[in-house]
Symmetry: C3
């Protein structure tokens, strides 16, 4: 039994790539979005490359997203100052000389795996190779789609939720949850920047969702392998195969396999943008299946949304109360530890007894 | 002339029975309700007895009221922890050993006079004999009904309101208020845990409400005898009798008598649950009269609701402003004093010049 | 390039006349309105003179505006205390002696130029001659009308907005804004309690609004002369005349002239009541023109409302961020300085580097 207290200073590191939008959200138009308490304005240049600027004019703070695109530059909607994609002011009204210090911050930005990622911390550390691995989202061997959910809760509550799928038995009874999940043992392993929870349920009755995906009667071997990459990305390898066909040993050829991709970007200390997708390696060209799966998973996640926002309100209504940990929280404890390591490295206050 | 300032620390004692629900509100289902800033979950066991538990799971704080009843126990809707009616955890998912410290608080609870009462303070002091006397509410010699009103104001503003019925003349002109109330003298008496305000209006024209109840023409003797039991229960003995038939001397046989029962449970420092009932000792079997009186009194109380919530907003809009007292506030001053005595006994900050 | 920081203590002086209502708003009824964080109740006496009282009963703080007029006095809607137009309590329920200290504040009030003005500071300084000059609003040589707009922003953001009309080019393109405004040079002059910004645009194409007002084709000479009287009144002399007909030298006889009258009364630190009118010296008897101009200007101001409220939200979302100043802000800098002088005189904290 262990206790977790909450970091007081800041709950999210800044030296990390955060998903800020689905690629299709970015157009030749100004999109405001706040991540990690920083208001950003996002857009694409004429050549399609993405731009992320601080969303507050240097002059009088009006959000630049209230202005308009001017070629690849942004014009402020109040007094017409123009900033280029590097954030440098290139026009001031009624004066010829432009103060060389006049600028807004421009953030490193990359597109990868159908998401747009922004780096808010030290730009010198913004290595595109560090973008979390969600390759299933644009791999031709996989098909799928997802959504963006806005949640009024600390992003780490979503991480806790995904690191322990025992909750499926209680929150998602009737779809993906059944008694087997809560009963099955699991293993947790970790490295310096990765934590993995592995759970196999052998020779069980499949829950309704997976029975429908497999399309064959009979017992199954079911797996859930949760890969966590700090601070907020979780790829879950899930699937079932007919019992005894060798899936635990590596032969999944008789089964169906999906990846639930999740990356949860803090908006503030108590709200977040939750990007997810569900990708499968079967019926790749069945567009109807893609739609049905996206809608089906969305319905399941709505049950989590209700729980997570109620949990956040309960934290506020019960000040001073701590979280206690169960055996099932071993994965979440490691996820929190890896987040805390990043926070400590950036100098933020780290909880005294963070699940130790 | 006297001044009242406001306690800074806490406005409600905890060593007291507070009404938390009408008896009919409690069923074989989970009911969330916050009193004295403490979120509770309420339900009945199979044998009908009432239960009040802390409404936050020991594990991750999710309100237990988001879960479900499991026999006489409650299952958390997130990870399936089960708590029995004593608040002890009796099931944890995926583990056999249950931490003996895993529990939520269970509060002393009793049913009396059609209300359910909870004791939040020291359980050793929770003597059921201390439940406030509202026996008219289930006495066969009396008939009546009432409601629960939610008010966005400090519960003590409702106490002030009820301890001085002069306001009837101004707030309730046209129903129960008339000039006589504001003009009539009154007496205030008190003991260590009781304050009483007595007002007789002799040989007056009855206000419309009472004229209708009496059903006879002519002048009346009218009485209002307010009984306050700290911190928040007020039973008001009200009625009229034909003038000169001996009511002031104790012979009320020619008149009609009602009791306005009130108990006002704090929800937070600035909101409360106001339980009230109106009971009469005439036309006992006339169910239509019960309904009409409940609806009629509810309409009258709506006028108070508007005043009380405006008063609370005014306190916020005028920081540092104090209440001044008039002669009519003598009863309210004693009520506040008895409340303050309870607060002082529990160690809360008591106002420096609380109406002395 | 200059910086402005924000005063922490109070942003508005109290020794000033503030517009509290249009004259037509005050009737034989109680009107609540908060200015400078002080809730007021306003009404007219039987003889038509205006009254402004503190809107909180001496006794229990209920807003007097929840009560009713009683001749020239106000009766509190809770316990019936009566206050006369001087704020003195003249009736208390159930007692004959009235505490001589029982009163609410009564504020100096005058009507001038179709507005009602209140003085919240030292009454000894409340000289009616100090009411800001907005005489065009009831001068027979001028015709016009206006409105009251409620804005969720610091009143000084509106002052900034009006002291620099460069924003017309960007916020009001298509009506009154064109490139000439942003390009034209301007002069700023000031005295101890007045700042003036003068801009002439010679031989330009008139923007659509002014082309319609003039009703003649061809180039024009256009002027904008902004008169600021601290803390919050701005009269803007605007107009156009056919180019070369002598307007810059003082002969406006071939042109059309308007005055945009503005006085922006703080409600709180982050909200204000913005009173404005547009008066013209042509087509004086054309009531349709009055209506069209009022509606047309209102549409233009709606564009400012969106910008100003977004700017206020941005100040909250970007704590610690300062305003930087451009050349175009020279008028706003002087306005802020004159406001700061008033604040300093009243002892409020004044920003360290207020635009110097």
């Amino acid at each position: 039994m262990q206790k977790t207290t909450f970091s007081r200073e800041q709950s999210f590191p800044l030296n990390a790539w955060y998903a800020v939008a689905w690629d299709v959200e970015l157009k030749r138009a100004l999109l405001p979005r706040t991540i990690c308490s920083r208001p950003l304005v996002l857009y694409r240049k004429a050549d399609g490359t993405a731009v992320a600027l601080e969303d507050a004019c240097w002059h009088r703070l009006l959000p630049l997203s209230k202005g308009w695109l001017n070629g690849d530059d942004v014009t402020c909607g109040y007094h017409g100052l123009v900033f280029n994609a590097d954030g440098r002011c290139v026009f001031m009204p009624s004066q010829e000389t432009i103060n060389p210090s006049a600028c807004v911050r421009s953030y490193p930005i990359v597109e990868k795996h159908r998401f747009v990622w922004v780096w808010l911390g030290d730009p010198a550390l913004a290595d595109p190779a560090k973008v979390p691995d969600l390759h299933w989202n644009d791999d031709p061997e996989w098909a799928g789609d997802g959504q963006l959910i806005y949640l009024k809760c600390d992003y780490r509550l979503v991480v806790d939720n995904l690191m322990d799928l025992t909750h499926e038995t209680f929150v998602h009874a009737g779809s993906i949850g059944n008694q087997a999940v809560a009963e099955a043992p699991f293993d947790v392993t970790h490295t310096e920047n990765h934590a993995t929870v592995t759970r196999w349920m052998l020779n069980i009755d499949p829950p309704p969702f997976w029975a429908a995906q497999l399309g064959k009667p009979g017992k199954v071997d079911r797996w859930q392998i949760i890969h966590f990459e700090p601070p907020c990305t979780i790829a879950i390898d899930v699937g079932v195969a007919p019992a005894g066909t060798g899936a635990p040993e590596g032969n999944r050829s008789q089964g169906v396999n999906g990846f639930v991709l999740n990356t949860i970007t803090p908006e503030t200390e108590t709200s977040c943008h939750y990007f997810w997708a569900f990708c499968r390696n079967y019926r790749l060209k069945d567009q109807r299946a893609t739609t049905e799966l996206r809608e089906g998973v969305a319905r399941i996640f709505q049950q989590d949304e209700d729980v997570l926002e109620a949990q956040q309100r309960a934290m506020v209504a019960n000040p001073g109360r701590e979280f206690y940990n169960l055996n099932i929280d071993a994965g979440a404890i490691w996820a929190r530890r890896l987040i805390d390591n990043m926070l400590a490295e950036e100098g933020y206050l780290v909880p005294a007894a963070a699940g130790d």
